[in-house]
Amino acid sequence: MFHPATVACALAFALLSAGCGGDDAVSGGAEDLPGPVPSGVSFQEPPADALQAPDFSAQLVDGTPVTASELWDDRPLVLVFTASWCGTCAEIHRTAARAVAGQEGAVALLGLVPADDGEPARDYAAELDLGHPLAVASEDVWLDYAAREPPLVALVAPGGRLLRGWPGGVEEAVLVRELDALVER
């Protein structure tokens, strides 16, 4: 027969081991990376003269490494350059997420914050809780996309051709129209 205190300790350890008392998932982290492209979806070929989007690697807000070309390899990618301190960015980010949600997994979205915004960005991601990854991007990434100031939204075709960029953000209807033109079901 076990001593009651021993049983209590074992029970407490089991509960803690099972993760009771809190979910470890970080909004904007690895668990928000997109799953496989849905079956039955194909994509419009991008214009032949469209420029190749600059590839980059960054870390998500939970430290997970991410490479842009892996996200745009098999589907369109919407990039949202944003910042925790930017008063208009959260709504632009939400708008882009709504437009992407309409494509039911056929389009990926990656938010990007400046390098000095990493810690506040975790709160920003938690507050928005968009279900899409958020990465901390170096100065070079911002310069490569001519993102002089957040917000800026960019659309990359499958394979990496840069299709559009919207400094200051984009209206939901405009982004929906662009995505509808890209995705074929």
Partner: protein, 140 residues
């Protein structure tokens, strides 16, 4: 003796010791000459290479000896026409980002400097403050 200390401190406070009420109210119009294309009047932050000028970024007001007189966080800016002499004819135009700072009861000194997170401190004389109008400083 210990019980008299709070009373002494309270009396000193009521008497205005420590400079409260004796300082200057400093208004600063901080201009970021980034010439970024925006809709006039929209909220903005400094565009590269002035990206360190944004809401919630810290600043300090110093005197000529480098002593910190006041500290705070920058507010968001507003986009203003970079060249009002030009009728651009479009909605999105070259703009500067302008931030308005209000610092109350700043200790009187002959000269001040606004220090941002990066860049050179921006000096200005007390005479500009005493004029009553906002002091116009341009980030460089």
């Amino acid at each position: 003796m210990r019980r008299f200390v709070p009373a002494l401190l309270a009396a000193a406070g009521l008497a205005g010791c420590g400079g409260s009420g004796d300082g200057l109210d400093v208004r600063i119009t901080l201009v970021v000459p980034d010439e970024n294309v925006r809709v006039e009047g929209t909220e903005c932050a400094g565009a590269r290479p002035f990206q360190y000028v944004h809401a919630e970024a810290s600043y300090a007001l110093e005197d000529e000896d480098g002593e910190t007189l006041a500290e705070g966080e920058l507010p968001a800016g507003r986009a203003v026409n970079a060249d009002p002499s030009i009728d651009w004819g479009v909605e999105r135009i070259p703009t500067f980002c302008v931030l308005e700072l209000e610092l109350d009861d700043v200790p009187r000194r002959p000269g001040y400097a606004l220090r941002l997170e990066r860049g050179s401190p921006l000096p200005f004389g007390a005479s500009l403050v005493e004029g009553g109008d906002p002091v116009r400083l341009t980030v460089r």
